[in-house]
C-alpha cells in the first residue's frame, strides 16, 4: 500500500511536471464548461420543468464525450512511456509487486481525473447558488462519470501496458471504447438474438441511468467489472516480460 502511494505520488509529480496534464485539464474544463452553458441555455429555452430530464441528462451525456476524448490521452503514457524510456527495468529490480506498480499508476490517473471532474462542478455549484435544486440526480451523474472514467482509464492502462508507443496506446484505447459504444447501435447488423446481449455489454448504455439520476446496481457492477477486467489484462501484459524478454 505504501509503495502504491509512493508510485502514485511520483506519477502525479511526473504528470504535472510536464505540459500534458495541464493541457488536458484546460481542454477538459473548457469543453465541459461550454457544454454546461450550452445545455443550460437549451434547457431555459426548451427544457420544460424537469431538471434531471431536461438539463442534467444532457450535461452528463456531453461530459461523457469529453471524458472519452481526454482520458485515453491521459492514460496513454502511464506504462508506454516507462517502457520506451526503460525506467521499468529498475522498478522490476526493487522489491515491488507488479500490481503495486499498476495500482499506483492507475490511481494517479484517477486522481487527475477526479480533479478535472471537480473543475466541472463549478457550473452546477453556481447554478445551485442562484437557483437551488435537488442535488441527488447530479451526485448520481458524477458517480456515473467517476465509474465510467475509471473504466476508460483501466482500458487505457491495459493498452499502455502492451506497447511502448503512446500514440498506439491511445489509438488502441479509442478503438476499444468506441467499439464498446457502437456495438449496440444497429440491431439489424447483429440479429435479434444477439442484440440484447450486446446491449448488456455496451459500455455507454450502462451510463444512461446515471445520467438520468438513477444509480442501478447492475450498472455499477458492470462498470466495476469492466475496470477490473482491463486492470487484470494490464497485469498480464506486464508479466509477459517473462517470455517476451523485453522490458
Amino acid at each position: 500500500m505504501r509503495k502504491t502511494f509512493l508510485i502514485c505520488r511520483r506519477e502525479l509529480g511526473v504528470l504535472f511536471g510536464g505540459p500534458l496534464a495541464w493541457v488536458l485539464a484546460a481542454v477538459f474544463v473548457l469543453l465541459t464548461g461550454y457544454f454546461f452553458y450550452s445545455d443550460l441555455v437549451f434547457f431555459v429555452l426548451f427544457g420544460g420543468a424537469s431538471l434531471p430530464a431536461g438539463l442534467w441528462r444532457f450535461v452528463f451525456l456531453d461530459y461523457r464525450l469529453v471524458a472519452l476524448l481526454v482520458l485515453p490521452l491521459l492514460s496513454m503514457r502511464l506504462l508506454a512511456e516507462e517502457r520506451r524510456l526503460g525506467t521499468l527495468e529498475l522498478l522490476w529490480t526493487y522489491p515491488v509487486r507488479d500490481r503495486e506498480v499498476l495500482a499506483g499508476k492507475f490511481v494517479a490517473a484517477l486522481v487527475v481525473y477526479l480533479v478535472l471532474l471537480l473543475g466541472t462542478a463549478t457550473g452546477p455549484a453556481v447554478l445551485y447558488m442562484l437557483h437551488p435544486f435537488a442535488p441527488a440526480p447530479v451526485l448520481a451523474g458524477y458517480v456515473g462519470l467517476v465509474l465510467l472514467g475509471a473504466a476508460f482509464l483501466a482500458c487505457g492502462t491495459a493498452a499502455s501496458a502492451v506497447t511502448e508507443n503512446q500514440v498506439v496506446a491511445a489509438m488502441l484505447t479509442y478503438g476499444v471504447l468506441v467499439f464498446c459504444w457502437f456495438v449496440s447501435w444497429n440491431e439489424a447488423a447483429v440479429g435479434e438474438t444477439v442484440a440484447p446481449v450486446l446491449l448488456q455489454l455496451s459500455l455507454f448504455d450502462h451510463f444512461y441511468g446515471f445520467a438520468q439520476g438513477v444509480i442501478d446496481s447492475r450498472d455499477v457492477v458492470y462498470l466495476v467489472a469492466f475496470t477490473t477486467l482491463f486492470l487484470f489484462l494490464a497485469a498480464r501484459a506486464l508479466e509477459s516480460r517473462a517470455w517476451r524478454g523485453v522490458i
Binding site: 509512493l6 511520483r10 509529480g13 527495468e89 529498475l90 529490480t93 509487486r97 516480460r241 517473462a242 524478454g245
Partner: protein, 314 residues
C-alpha cells in the same frame, strides 16, 4: 551470496545465455567479462530478477530470484549499464523514491538513505537538480547511487564506470573495492585493465557461455601461449640476438632497443620452458655484462584474446 546455476535464457529460437554457472561470495568482487553480445547484461538481468530464466536458477543470498522475487530483491542493488531515469525528477527526489521502493520506511529515513548514497557517489552538489539536465556521467552515478540505497549485501553493477571521466572512474573503482570487503559484487565490464586491478576473480562469457572463471593473474598465466623474458646486456645487438636464439627452448627473439653498446631483447620461449638460467649462463659466457633479465607477465587481455579468438573462429 550470488549463485548462477545452469542459467539459460532463450528469446524465441535464440539462446542468449546458455547454462551459465558461477558463484560470488561475500567479500569478493568478481569481474564479468565478454565481448559485446556475449550475454553479460542478460545474465545480470536474470540475477536481478528483471525477467526469469528459461531454465536454471539464480540465487541471491540463498533465495531463488524466480520463486521468491521480493525477498531476493530486498538483498540486491542493481545498477544498469545505461540507467534509464525519470528526467523530470531531481536527483534527491529520485533516490528518496528508490529508498521507498526498497522498504526504507519514513520520509526522514528515506532522505537520510538518499543522502548517504549521494555522499558515496559524489552527487551532493547536484542533489536538487533535475536528472534530465545532468550529463551522462552523472546519470551513471545516479544509477550506482540507487543501487547502494538500503546497503544491500549483493551488488550487480553493469559497466559501472562506462561514461565516467577518468577521475570519477578511479573514485568509483575505489568505492567498489571498499564495498567489496563486506559485499558480494558482480561487475561487468569490457575494460580489461580495469577489471584486472579491481576484481578478485573474473568470469569470461562468450556466446552466452562461460569460457573461464579464475583469478585474473592465474587465468593469464594459465592461458598465456608463450613464456617471455626481457634480456638486457652490454653486448652488440646482433651477436646477442644470435646467442639468445641458439638457446634450447627459445622460439623467437625480438630486438626491443639498442644504444651505446647495450641491447635489450624479448625472448619468446616454448610454453612451459624455463630458459632463464641458460640465457644468463650463455650471456655471461661471452663476457658480456648481464644488465637485466625479467619475465614478462602475461596480461588479462592476452588471456581474454586467447579464449575469445578461438571461440569466435568456431
Amino acid at each position: 551470496m550470488i549463485v548462477a546455476e545452469h542459467l539459460t535464457k532463450r528469446f524465441g529460437a535464440r539462446t542468449a545465455v546458455d547454462r551459465v554457472s558461477f558463484t560470488v561470495e561475500r567479500g569478493e568482487v568478481v569481474g564479468f567479462l565478454g565481448p559485446n553480445g556475449a550475454g553479460k547484461t542478460t545474465t545480470i538481468r536474470l540475477l536481478a530478477g528483471v525477467f526469469p530464466p528459461s531454465s536454471g536458477r539464480a540465487l541471491i543470498d540463498g533465495l531463488d530470484v524466480a520463486t521468491r522475487p521480493l525477498a531476493a530483491r530486498r538483498r540486491l542493488g542493481y545498477a544498469p549499464e545505461r540507467p534509464a531515469l525519470h528526467r523530470e525528477m531531481t536527483v534527491a527526489a529520485f533516490l528518496e523514491f528508490a529508498a521507498g521502493m526498497k522498504d526504507v520506511a519514513g520520509a526522514r529515513e528515506r532522505a537520510a538513505a538518499a543522502g548517504t548514497a549521494m555522499e558515496r557517489t559524489g552527487l551532493r552538489e547536484v542533489a536538487g537538480e533535475r536528472i534530465g539536465q545532468l550529463s551522462k556521467g552523472y546519470h551513471q552515478r545516479v544509477g550506482l547511487a540507487q543501487a547502494l540505497i538500503g546497503d544491500p549485501p549483493v551488488l550487480l553493477l553493469d559497466e559501472p564506470t562506462g561514461g565516467l571521466d577518468p577521475a570519477h572512474s578511479v573514485e568509483t573503482r575505489r568505492l567498489i573495492r571498499t564495498l567489496g570487503d563486506a559485499h558480494a559484487i558482480l561487475v561487468s565490464s569490457h575494460a580489461l585493465a580495469e577489471v584486472e586491478g579491481l576484481c578478485d576473480r573474473v568470469v569470461i562469457l562468450h556466446g552466452g557461455r562461460v569460457l573461464a572463471a579464475d583469478r585474473p593473474a592465474d587465468l593469464a598465466a594459465r592461458l598465456r601461449r608463450t613464456s617471455c623474458l626481457d634480456v638486457e646486456a652490454a653486448a652488440p645487438a646482433d651477436a646477442l640476438m644470435a646467442t639468445l636464439a641458439a638457446v634450447p627452448g627459445v622460439r623467437h627473439v625480438d630486438l626491443l632497443a639498442r644504444s651505446n653498446g647495450q641491447a635489450r631483447c624479448r625472448v619468446e620461449a616454448e610454453p612451459g620452458a624455463d630458459v632463464r638460467a641458460r640465457v644468463a649462463a650463455d650471456v655471461t659466457a661471452h663476457g658480456w655484462g648481464l644488465l637485466g633479465l625479467a619475465p614478462v607477465e602475461a596480461s588479462l587481455e592476452e588471456a581474454f584474446l586467447a579464449l575469445v579468438a578461438p571461440a569466435e573462429g568456431r
